[in-house]
């Protein structure tokens, strides 16, 4: 089967997932935890619908990142003269198509920010008197947020469309001079540089600025690594599903083994970045930095330690053996674990900070003097410890439902894009290598026929 056909069954399953997601998203709009609501001076109830907005932000960021990284991997592979992945590069091309959907969601959040509809960001409200946030206002404002997102994701998507159309044109008009491939190389290398700068700028705005006072130079690379592992996990899962439906028979155990190696290597790389960031902050013991981890360890211990178990300990121990990278059952297990684990990682990056911002806004704790906000945060740690906030302390059913919904939406776009072109590209100069790919496991790199 050279073409994937979007069967109505696949369509209805993804649409079903989307329906679950929409339902949960709507419910989370109305099921705001009590501790995050308050009563204003005029007696009106204050409800920021933080559960709804954080769920929207969390999943938008997560899935946009997966789409972006998938495209980034293609450009990096082209630049590095890699050949092994070519047989299934259409899958990563399909993943990339979700970027535009992600942009739409991020724009909703950006516009809502302008209208002060949500209180996701510490800098989004009244920052008068808060000298730290005033100092950052040149970057942390709704204009940068909106136009930065629009321009950066727009540029990514522009490059993506360019590469995709070249890839499709290569199928049609590919020639012995491999002109299309050579043009792709010219587009791929600059994209890597652009991506390097811009992904960091976006992560700072989208995620790091939630904890508006806190900063870490590592943060952008750390969260990008998290996206990377998620993208590889999802690739493995979708690939195994497609193979079970009879597609992609060209993709063999050898390719899966290499994807497994990537999953293993980047899980370790993620851990390395996690440790470097955590250890340096722990060691220097500066209050304005440690607050970030203190908060998470004290009030969100399951989030904090679960993150390490799911994203380091288990994948490391399971994928250490070579044969586990070739057993589909194990691969599925680890991929599900890592995909969920890194979704969990973003959850713990986003949710605790928003709880503070909302508490600030509705006037819990001692926040009358914004200048003392740092101390206010510390106070909060004390009395917040006993609180369980559903949808924040741990992901609840609604969060899982929204995750399923976004996954459905992502798959819907991916499968739709996938059905529009042959699964295995034609005329790619590295296709032959990819189709004869061997990783050299179990003796013999190149078994002679």
């Amino acid at each position: 089967m050279t073409h994937y056909i979007l069967e109505s069954k696949h369509k209805s399953v993804t649409l079903g997932m989307i329906a679950v997601g929409v339902l949960c998203l709507i419910l989370s709009f109305f099921m705001e935890p009590d501790t995050l609501t308050g009563v204003g001076a005029d007696g009106h109830a204050i409800n920021t619908h933080a559960r709804f907005w954080t769920n929207l932000l969390h999943n938008s960021v997560f899935f946009t990142g997966i789409a972006f990284i998938s495209f980034f991997v293609i450009t990096a592979s082209i630049t590095a003269y890699a050949g092994w992945y070519v047989a299934f590069k259409r899958l990563w091309e399909a993943f990339g198509s979700f970027m535009i959907v992600g942009l739409v969601f991020m724009m909703i959040i950006a516009i809502a920010g302008f209208l002060h509809v949500h209180h996701l960001y510490h800098w989004g409200g009244n920052i008068e008197g808060d000298r730290i946030l005033e100092g950052k206002a040149g970057f942390l404002n709704n204009y940068w947020y909106t136009f930065g997102t629009l321009i950066i994701v727009g540029v990514w998507y522009f490059f993506y469309r360019k590469m995709r159309s070249l890839s499709l044109a290569e199928d049609e008009h590919g020639n012995a001079g491999y002109e299309h491939h050579k043009t792709m190389r010219k587009w791929a290398a600059p994209f890597m540089i652009i991506a390097g700068f811009t992904s960091a700028a976006l992560i700072w705005q989208w995620v790091m600025s939630i904890d508006g006072h806190w900063y870490s130079t590592m943060f952008a690379w750390y969260s990008t690594a998290s996206w990377f592992v998620s993208a590889i996990s999802l690739t493995i899962l979708v690939m195994i599903w497609l193979k079970s439906k009879g597609y992609y028979q060209e993709v063999t155990d050898e390719h899966m083994h290499d994807l497994g190696k990537f999953l293993f290597a980047f899980s370790i790389f993620w851990t390395y970045l996690w440790f470097s960031q955590y250890m340096l902050i722990w060691y220097a013991n500066n209050g304005e930095e440690t607050i970030y981890f203190r908060e998470r360890i004290d009030n969100y211990p399951i989030l904090f330690y679960g993150n390490l178990v799911m994203n380091f300990a288990l994948p490391f121990l399971i994928l250490l053996r070579n044969d586990t990278k070739r057993k589909y059952g194990t691969l599925i297990f680890v991929s599900v674990l890592c995909l969920f684990g890194h979704w969990w990682d973003y959850f713990q990056m986003i949710k605790p900070g928003v709880v503070h911002t909302v508490h600030d806004y509705i006037g819990h704790g001692n926040h009358s003097d914004a200048l003392n906000d740092m101390e206010g945060h510390i106070d909060e740690v004390g009395h917040g410890a006993s609180e369980f906030i559903s949808g924040f302390t741990l992901p609840g059913f609604l969060e899982l439902g929204v995750f399923v919904g976004f996954l459905g939406l992502f798959l819907f776009f991916v499968l739709n894009t996938l059905s529009k072109a042959p699964l295995v590209p034609k005329n790619d100069p590295y296709l032959g290598e990819s189709l004869h790919h061997h990783v050299g496991y179990g003796g013999g790199n190149e078994v002679h026929h």
């Binding site: 250890m279 060691y283 250490l320 050299g440 179990g442 003796g443 013999g444 190149e446 078994v447 002679h448």
Partner: protein, 178 residues
């Protein structure tokens, strides 16, 4: 007079090319010939499955050595800083796990590497000063060698081997006590 005590009489053929070698070995398997060893100037891919070599278990040994390193480092530092001589550094707890990670990692790698390399040389019988007699000096250059042990072989069996060599495009056939 060649001193033959404790030695084997080896009949070996030299091939010029790795692909010819692989075909020859397939043929030897086909004829159910018992190959003593194959010597090549570089690792020839596809050779191991033909010779029926099992996958090396060195990595399992490496895992054990590595785990030993992990435990030595981590337990050692924990004992020293909580029991033997506890000191507070910069307000950190005695048992400051994050600070132990770097050395624990380094010793894991160190133990695993040294352990495996020593194991490798030992099981291969390689060490400085050892003299392993070579069948032919050109094996480390451009010849691919298939060797049979013919110490106890009958003339008919030797003929059969010679026949095999000739049929598979051998360059040279020799006998050597080794």
């Amino acid at each position: 007079m060649v001193h033959t005590e404790g030695k084997s009489k080896v009949l070996y053929g030299l091939y010029n090319d790795d692909e010819v070698l692989l075909k020859a070995i397939s043929e030897a398997n086909h004829r159910h010939l018992d190959i003593m060893d194959v010597f090549t100037p570089f690792p020839v891919h596809g050779l191991d499955p033909l010779l029926g070599l099992e996958e090396s278990r060195l990595h399992q040994a490496g895992f054990v050595y590595g785990a030993l390193g992990t435990l030595t480092a981590f337990l050692g530092m924990s004992w020293i800083f909580t029991r033997d001589w506890p000191i507070i550094f910069g307000g950190k707890p005695y048992w400051s796990v994050p600070a132990f990670i770097p050395i624990t990692f380094e010793l894991t790698v160190l133990f695993a590497s040294i352990g495996m390399v020593v194991t490798f040389y030992t099981i291969c019988g390689l060490r400085p000063g050892v003299v392993n007699e070579n069948l032919d000096d050109r094996i480390s250059d451009d010849k691919f060698c298939v060797a049979f042990d013919t110490t106890h072989a009958s003339d008919a069996e030797v003929d059969e081997l010679n026949d095999f060599f000739q049929a598979t495009g051998v360059e040279e056939v020799n006998t050597k006590w080794i």
